[in-house]
Symmetry: C2
Subunit: 273 residues, 2 copies
């Protein structure tokens, strides 16, 4: 998917919501456990129910790998089922040397046809650029994450610069890539950091976790992070997919997604009139 | 496996060699492609052939994931086949928020019974500590890697300290853990950095990639990195597993592993008499 196609979809659905598919056998409704593939069955119903309100889906690889080859098969089925006109994110947070990154790129972009993969920057340029060789595919690089440990290293100040590590990561990696093949993860729990991020990358899309469950505010994120093409994909996982856990879990998920979508429509209206 | 058990095995085999199982369908001998599971068949023969000379095996997850659920099934079979008395490393370079790290820990430590997993430090404490809750299991944290991109961020100097980022990573993470559940990756391509690393973590084991194919020197690594319990696991992947690619590939791999083991025995002799 191209940047323009993504923005068109955002305008059409009046939403920049990404639904995180952190699908966990211990948390899905009990009645699904009788299905042949409960993980896929859950994902299928969640996708069907939330599709009117979401422009992106983000399976978290850990939840599938925790179930071994069986879990990966559920993910493969989910990706085959995925509608063509949503943006898909393999939340894998990979980062390895060049020839290994090529293998991961093959896994996510060729075998499973994801639009994008999350990548961690610690190993530098050759751990990131192999993913950029695919047309219409994206790297979403971790910059400032929303977890408590994010302060340990991402916020260290670099000598003889006024930059924090995550700012250096953005500035340096932006020279390897462009706004058509790179996005950045910036946690909603630090909306004020979006000002500095936007100074570095005014045109890039940002993937924002941490709204809802982790306490971030949507209006703050929009105030500091929105750009001329929206430039934001806001993720919600548990708040939507586990909104209910009875037989009506999919309706509950749809309702939770719609509530976020309505807020997003208002924000888009505010910014684009 | 405990630290003492690992050192005992090193003394017994006079080796601290780890064989990297970067098993690639495009590189394994053609005659294996007729096997029901060529990846597993290759690994099985490599393990059998190199077992006298190696104390550890390190499958690189990317190579298995590139083949989807089928590849992960080959890895599961490889891990079932693995002898009990070798140290196993899931080279996964994971790094995610706490509840996700719990899922990865389950995948690698419970389902596949790996002794250790490589983890990337960018997301900080809560992305690392979930793996430390398992008795006799290990985190191997990326510190100074051996790839070209390692200089982009790992070497930045932190303000008001004389520390590089990778040194800060080691110093900080050492406060979350101890030498019985944490190791560090330090590339052989920078043996002089081992002096500073040993000042920070004199007792920890280090996993050293980059000897051989990537140009690092074993004697330099031993000179600067060896401690009272050896403290080194040196990895070789392509130089051993692809030493041959005919019907005698396993014998060629054994020969390549033995050549490294002989050098290692001499280094151990030098240090321990």
């Amino acid at each position: 998917m191209t940047r323009q196609q993504l923005f068109d979809k955002i305008k059409e659905k009046e939403s920049f919501l990404c639904v995180g598919l952190d699908t966990d056998l211990e948390k899905i409704p009990k009645h699904l456990l009788a299905a042949e593939d409960p993980i896929f069955e859950f994902n299928k119903q969640i996708i069907d129910a939330t599709y009117p309100y979401a422009i992106a889906y983000k399976p978290n690889l850990a939840f599938y790998e925790a179930l071994g080859s069986r879990g990966l098969a559920s993910l493969e089925k989910t990706m085959e089922y995925m509608p063509d006109d949503v943006f898909t994110i393999a939340d894998a947070k990979r980062g390895d040397i060049g020839n290994t990154s090529n293998m991961y790129a093959k896994a996510f972009f060729e075998n499973m046809n994801f639009d994008s993969v999350t990548v961690t920057p610690y190993m530098g340029e050759d751990s990131v650029t192999p993913y950029l060789n695919y047309s219409r595919k994206w790297v979403i690089l971790l910059a400032a994450t929303s977890n408590s440990g994010s302060f340990d290293f991402q916020e260290v100040l670099i000598e003889n610069s006024s930059e924090k590590l995550y700012e250096r990561v953005i500035r340096t990696s932006a020279t390897w890539s462009n706004p058509n093949n790179m996005m950045y993860v910036v946690g909603a729990t630090r909306p004020e950091s979006l000002v500095g991020v936007r100074a570095l990358v005014p045109d890039h899309f940002l993937l924002i976790p941490g709204v809802g469950a982790q306490g971030g505010s949507l209006s703050q994120v929009c105030k500091y992070g929105m750009n001329r093409q929206c430039g934001l994909i806001v993720n919600s996982s548990r708040g939507i997919i586990y909104a209910g856990n009875g037989e009506d879990f999919a309706q509950k998920a749809a309702k939770a997604a719609q509530e976020v979508q309505v807020q997003m429509a208002a924000e888009l209206q505010k910014h684009f009139g």
